[in-house]
Point group: D2
Chain length 280, copies 4
């Protein structure tokens, strides 16, 4: 696995050439692509060239966002799905291997099984279109009870459920996006990671949680940098990834607004060193 | 539909002959059977005779409890299931038409879909054994969020879900047990009752809820007598039952420990009059 | 229900104004729309006017074809789905209430459950788009064993299965297209129609089967006009429709190439009289 | 993997001590247990002693039959399930690690999905009882189209389907029984075995098929000894087992009545040598 610089996930921003410099300077193994920047290069050959320049700096890609809203009304979803092949040409030209999205863990009208049909339906189609383009899809579950219990029907909010969902789609190019924060808030332990293989995991986030709240009171948008409070068993989590033979990107996504107030080089040096320590 | 005297659901007790007298005196249309009392009559002819005596007093039967634990370990469940036909002979001799149980709305280890398989599995078998004996099965869902959100995996806690479960069993002798308290706490309205037919409903409970708590803070074991606080739209609930052409028993189950401290005739006169007012 | 003239289903053709005249002359209650003819009228007001002219002749509409291939590759399906709202404007302007398609009853690669996921997925989306336009969808199952047994994995080929599929989509605007030939070849009887309501049935075909073949040897494309051989229990089939309170179109689809060799008025007089005799 | 002597599968019989001698004489690696013989030894200590004697001859056990009928009426199934723990004591005392049964690949009344619910239901319970005793369960699918197409609703008749079924039970002690004859008649190839691991396979049969019939005309009970006609790609099948790291028993089950007419030592020498050649 390799550390991945995702400025967006840190609440930071920079133009793409600067992001590349920052990633190199702070020793990241990869960074998130800037799709607008890539698309602006011109035709596919130009995109390939721009991507090659990044690769030559020793950087790999993080996961791009899936440009389809799985919960949109059917007509809107159909339009997004029909447009998806075109949207993917930049990604394939740049060599970005996978896209990801998260699963909304509740619904006010659809029971678990009705919502399941909606998700399987749409994911099966999305996965087939992505497979045609040689791309993988990562699905992130969201663990906090303060989130999944807020509407009438809780939905997928654990690793075992997202794996059931992936199996049901019948697609071989869909895997999970693991986040230590969701793993912890879902009440999962190292035992839940046993049996995972590299092919099952598309991307990984590591974070910590505030120490002054119980697990079931944790809030999705109030997290800490990895290994800062020790609430989350990061060692156990990383051991699970190593046992799975995971080879993909690892980033942090702490939703800490204070990061934007600090010198960016200080923040990235700290983040990179935390990622390196975790990856080992 | 008819008012049903269930002393147990009121937190009261009396020997069965006394219960029959109380039911008649306070104008109930039916009462819960005392299976031990019936079994103690001797052979099936004696049970039939005892049941006929109740019937001659103008009383019908409420729903008996299902003598099978749907969530027991497999070996224990298998033994209970194998013994079920014998356990049913008293019920069939007495002419009791249906048994009921409730569904635990969460699980700490089984995801929704894994728990679904367990429930469908066991209910399909139980329903087939009951059908052989000419009995129906009623399933009660439990609505309060303070209950279903307390373990890692919420499970069936709404009318739509219990109807999905019944459909999946493929059994035609399984229906729902409706409780106004669960209907309210599940966030359901009169619209959720549309389309129900008499055959879909096995039994009904009516209760009210304390006025000093929000819906999502209501507690399963803290209820009020019907039409005492007005928190629950009992009129809308009863209209739904009438539109369904419901013909079965209606009882109250308030979990009010104070009832046992009052004179039993005062309590039953009040309960009977509340049931009559609701049934109309 | 009403008799419906479908020249295509008879292997005949005529321009639309002629078809209307033929339908009126032979006493049909409705006819299939000619979507190209309607679209060629111009804007929606023109389509409405053309449809009104048909309505004034006392004719109702049959079911139009669904312009989406449920088994197309995902990208193709997505494009068809995205284009569907536009394709439906002629139908809604003309007041055509429903579209239909049939279900391929086998697959060489997809197991029953994998094919089920594909069908539920796509039907859920199609049904939602149709519902937005106020249209219903009819699904026809195909009964002959000589068809469903020809690949590795048989799929939906009976009424009970198509009803399970419809239930799983969760859509309230999807129903079944019944064909007496499929009902017979699927080994179904009048008992299988019990419980159907008008809302469950979108369209009906009646046909007979050759007398010199066993049920399991019947071929999908070798049928007879209704009540010509008596192989199929048409009386039982029609009783089922009447008990369901069916109000929609009834047509014949005999796949008899010989019809095109006879004078069209002779054919239509015969067909209309067979339909009237069946409808009663 | 090891060759397993199953006299019953060869249409032969012998008392158990003789069977042990035959297995040793002809170089088999294991043999089927004779449960009546073992039970007749007396208490569990006596069974353990008898089993130890077999083990000392260098023999391992084949799979025993599951003493539960998965398709029995519910009451009968419940009784068999309740009695199962007692029935298993001989097996566990003897150290027999697994039991097996086959899946009936069609039904005249239950649709695929209804039959699926029945099978998942019952297998989940059986697997839990077996797991409590430390036993695994093997499920054999039956491939010939001349079998699965003979009733209204085909059911599981392929490897992919039986694996879907096992996944749905959620049990970790259930695997597949592979038979080269079913693998061939189901239209499967070496590609279908890719991804199998030792833990997925409980037992294996190898057979060949008559050369004068097409695949879809093959009959379940008319088979040939392995490598006698070459119709079945035995080499590809065995490569799949080796790639899976399979460690369990391999036997033949040719349903050849002629074997009983030949000298038993001739038959077993031939069978053993065919098994050894295949296992390699």
């Amino acid at each position: 696995m390799y550390s991945n610089l995702s400025l967006g996930a840190l609440g930071l921003s920079a133009d793409f050439p600067t992001a590349v410099e920052l990633a190199v300077r702070h020793g990241f193994g990869g960074l998130d692509a800037d799709l607008d920047h890539l698309a602006a290069q011109g035709d596919q050959a130009a995109v390939r060239e721009a991507a090659a320049a990044v690769s030559e700096r020793g950087l790999r890609w993080g996961v791009a966002g899936l440009p389809v809203d799985l919960t949109a009304p059917a007509t809107e979803f159909a339009t997004q799905l029909a447009n998806l092949p075109d949207r993917l040409t930049v990604l394939t030209a740049a060599g970005i291997p996978s896209v990801g999205t998260w699963l909304r863990p509740m619904h006010d009208d659809l029971s678990y099984r009705r919502n399941w049909v909606v998700h399987v339906s749409r994911l099966a189609l999305v996965a087939e279109v992505l497979a045609d383009a040689g791309l993988r899809l990562g699905l992130e579950y969201v663990g906090p009870k303060t989130f999944w219990s807020t509407e009438r029907f809780p939905f997928i909010h654990s690793l075992s459920e997202v794996r059931e969902l992936i199996a049901e789609t019948g697609a071989s190019n869909v895997g999970v996006i693991l986040d230590a924060f969701h793993w912890y808030t879902a009440g999962e332990t190292a035992a839940d990671l046993v049996g995972l293989r590299d092919a099952d995991i598309v991307s990984v986030d590591i974070n910590d949680a505030p120490a002054d709240r119980e697990r079931d009171q944790q809030l999705d948008l109030d997290r800490r940098l990895p290994s800062s409070t020790g609430v989350i068993d990061l060692a156990g989590f990383m051991t699970g990834l190593r046992d799975a033979g995971y080879t993909g990107p690892v980033k942090v996504e702490p939703f800490l607004t204070t990061l934007a107030e600090q010198p960016i080089d200080d923040v990235l040096a700290d983040v990179s060193s935390r990622l390196d320590a975790a990856i080992g």
